[in-house]
């Protein structure tokens, strides 16, 4: 292949360029900011701009001083608030994941077994909400849930209830918001998995004496395990750090780690503490992400 003059001058091939670009992107917008946050988490709070003391000080007499301040981390472990928020985040993420699976699995199954034409329409419908901002969609739930909102008005009109139900700013509203927002992330990987499924296996199971439900439990479910895991990870990981939905729909009791992060950063201007929270959250989620990656790798290896 002929190389362009530019390529020859800088000495890298087109292939190298294609590979290098995303890495450069990740380096600039992930690795560098992460390094900054990590550095910040080890510095001390100060009334300054930016509101923390520098970690590395260069003295004129050829001396370099690096002061690692572990207080921020220690603080997170001494104040019960942070531990509770962490646990609560994990609980909320877990419950939301379970509900997403319970609702998303039948939907993915239905789409995978639909006729090819309807299948595309159904998939578009699943993806359609992404075309509006998530913030707007969560706000819309406020309109549904509030005391004189759509749901309460309809129920009162129908005579089911006489006084409006309190739904807004409850854990219930928060769960609805999270499950609603993350549902497509469960449906899409599950659909991709079920769509590859050999339905003759179900017939074989029925032929060997399984009623449809037993055939589902013994064949379809174990074979869609990777789809279930992928979908769960895609909900669980972002849901742990979710900030917008608990803030807008959840009550004051639904203290989640994302909220803490926000408060520390903006309200308290405790950037180092906020950074430490972020680092701990990452430490919690990275093993999960790595596990998910290995499943993904296995899935691709199995497909080829």
């Amino acid at each position: 292949m002929k190389r362009s003059r530019l390529q020859r001058r800088i000495g890298i091939s087109g292939r190298g360029l294609v590979v290098a670009l995303p890495y450069l992107w990740l380096l600039l917008f992930f690795a560098v900011p992460f390094a900054i946050v990590l550095k910040m988490s080890f510095s001390a709070v100060a009334m300054a701009i930016p509101p923390y003391r520098p970690l590395i000080v260069w003295y004129a007499k050829h001396a370099l001083e690096i002061k690692l301040n572990l207080n921020n981390y220690a603080f997170l472990f001494t104040d019960k608030l942070y531990g509770d928020a962490f646990l609560n985040s994990i609980k909320v993420a877990f419950v939301s994941t379970v509900f997403c699976l319970l609702i998303g699995y039948p939907m993915a199954y239905g789409i995978a077994r639909a006729k090819a034409k309807t299948r595309n329409i159904l998939l578009v419908l699943v993806v359609l909400p992404f075309w509006t901002s998530q913030l707007l969609r969560v706000y819309a739930w406020i309109g549904l849930f509030k005391a004189n909102g759509v749901i309460n008005n309809v129920l009162i009109r129908l005579g089911v209830i006489h006084n409006p139900l309190t739904m807004l700013f409850t854990p219930f509203a928060m769960y609805v918001g999270i499950v609603y927002s993350y549902l497509p992330y469960v449906i899409l990987p599950l659909y991709a998995n079920l769509e590859k499924m050999d339905w003759q296996l179900i017939e074989a199971a029925e032929d060997l004496g399984c009623r449809p439900w037993a055939a589902f439990c013994k064949v379809t479910l174990p074979l869609s395990r990777n789809g279930i895991l992928a979908g769960s990870m895609l909900v669980f990981i972002p849901a742990v750090g979710e900030f917008v939905i608990p803030t807008l729909l959840g009550g004051p009791n639904s203290l989640m780690i994302g909220r803490i992060l926000w408060d520390e950063f903006f309200a308290n201007r405790a950037w180092p503490v906020a950074s430490a929270v972020a680092i701990l959250m990452l430490l919690l989620l990275v093993p999960l992400m790595m596990w998910y990656q290995s499943i993904q790798a296995r899935e691709t290896a199995g497909a080829s």
């Binding site: 050999d198 003759q200 296996l201 017939e203 074989a204 199971a205 029925e206 032929d207 060997l208 004496g209 399984c210 009623r211 037993a214 013994k218 064949v219 174990p222 074979l223």
Partner: protein, 379 residues
């Protein structure tokens, strides 16, 4: 010819009007929209038979098989197994098992678990499951592969797992959908005889769907030839081969030369046909039922034609032509002989002698055949 002891021992219940059919298909039809996949099929299959449904793809044979398995519901008609109406019974309650063309082995289970699946489903006691699975795996010579996953097996081994899985439940009827299609030729021939051996050993009634006529001929006690959703002819392999009832069957089973002609002599014990395609007359030593002057077809198998350099005696059943092409197949050779009318006749000759006088290209030859060889069909 006297019947040999072996043939006498093999019963032929289909010739006995009082015999009880084991699997009975009564006027079954199946439509998908406007398309009639299976059109008014009636069949009686007897206990211990290997019945082959033979037909080209899309002829409805698989749909018929799926109705027997319970995966499709007939649009009309009834299916009885051992006297019980099975038409509305779901697959999991039928005393039949199916061996799928794709084998449909459960990829997340090993060989043993695959075979045990059906027994566990029936809540057979654990010890018995273990024993029956072990015995079945021995039978299909997979004893050493019990712990392997299907993905770690060869095509032939997978086929045997599928067979073991569907036989271990001791079904009344085993349905086999193209059981050998995925195997290579050598393995296929070997497996055919294994299948027959297994069937004789277990006494299970087999219903095999295949598009491969050779496979059907080897396996079947009887063959049902299907076309456009209908059974066009059912009979033993030799009946189907020697006495096809239509051009379609004659052409579908083996290779055949078909000469169009008109009936010029129609007696109870012989007929004579003038064929413009042949450029002569065909004399057949059996009567047929057709109107005089009717257009009929004479079907003549390539191996029943004699090829000679010298003109044979007699005026009927003779043609002259030039060898246009020769295909040497080792055990036999195929000659394509072009008649002056332009018709090309296929002749096969066994290569009996190693240094015999070979008939070469462009050689003028005479073709002749016995008056019992052609079969006259009217459609």
């Amino acid at each position: 010819m006297t019947t040999s002891a072996g043939q006498a021992a093999k019963s032929t219940p289909w010739n006995d009007p009082n015999a009880q059919a084991y699997l009975q298909i009564e006027r079954v039809s199946k439509s998908f929209g406007d398309f009639k996949a299976v059109d008014d099929v009636s069949l009686k299959i007897y206990k211990g038979e290997i019945f082959c449904l033979l037909g080209a793809s899309g002829c409805g044979k698989t749909t018929l098989l799926r109705m027997l398995g319970g995966f499709e519901r007939p649009s009309s008609g009834r299916i009885l197994i051992d006297g019980e109406d099975m038409t509305e019974v779901p697959p999991y309650d039928r005393p039949v098992n199916m061996m799928f063309q794709s084998y449909a082995l459960f990829p997340h289970m090993n060989v043993e678990q695959n075979v045990a699946f059906g027994l566990k489903q029936d809540r057979v006691p654990k010890a018995e499951v273990r024993e029956r699975v072990r015995a079945m795996l021995e039978l299909v010579k997979l004893g050493d592969f019990a712990k392997r996953k299907p993905s770690q097996l060869s095509g032939g081994q997978r086929q045997r797992v599928a067979l073991a899985r569907s036989l271990v439940k001791r079904p009344k009827v085993l349905l086999l959908d193209e059981p050998l299609a995925a195997l290579d030729k050598k393995l296929r021939e070997h497996t055919q005889f294994e299948l027959i051996g297994l069937q004789e050993q277990l006494g299970v009634t087999f219903l095999v769907v295949t598009h491969d006529q050779e496979e059907a001929m080897t396996l079947a006690s009887r063959i049902g030839v299907m076309d456009h959703g209908e059974i066009v002819q059912a009979g033993t392999p030799s009946e189907i081969y020697e006495f096809p009832n239509s051009k379609f069957v004659a052409d579908f089973i083996g290779s055949v030369n078909i000469f169009e002609g008109t009936l010029i002599e129609d007696e109870p014990e012989h007929v004579r046909i003038r064929s413009a395609e042949l450029g002569g007359t065909i004399y057949v030593s059996h009567g047929i039922s057709a109107a005089p002057e009717a257009v009929v077809w004479a079907a003549l198998r390539p191996e029943k034609i004699l090829m000679s350099i010298q003109p044979p005696p007699g005026a009927d059943n003779v043609a002259r032509g030039a060898v246009q092409d020769i295909a040497y197949l080792g055990d036999l050779s195929i000659y394509l002989v072009k008649l002056p009318t332009g018709k090309v006749v296929r002749v096969t000759q066994p290569n009996t002698s190693r240094h015999g006088e070979a008939i070469g290209w462009d050689r003028e030859v005479y073709l002749s055949w016995d008056h019992s060889s052609p079969v006259i069909v009217t459609r």
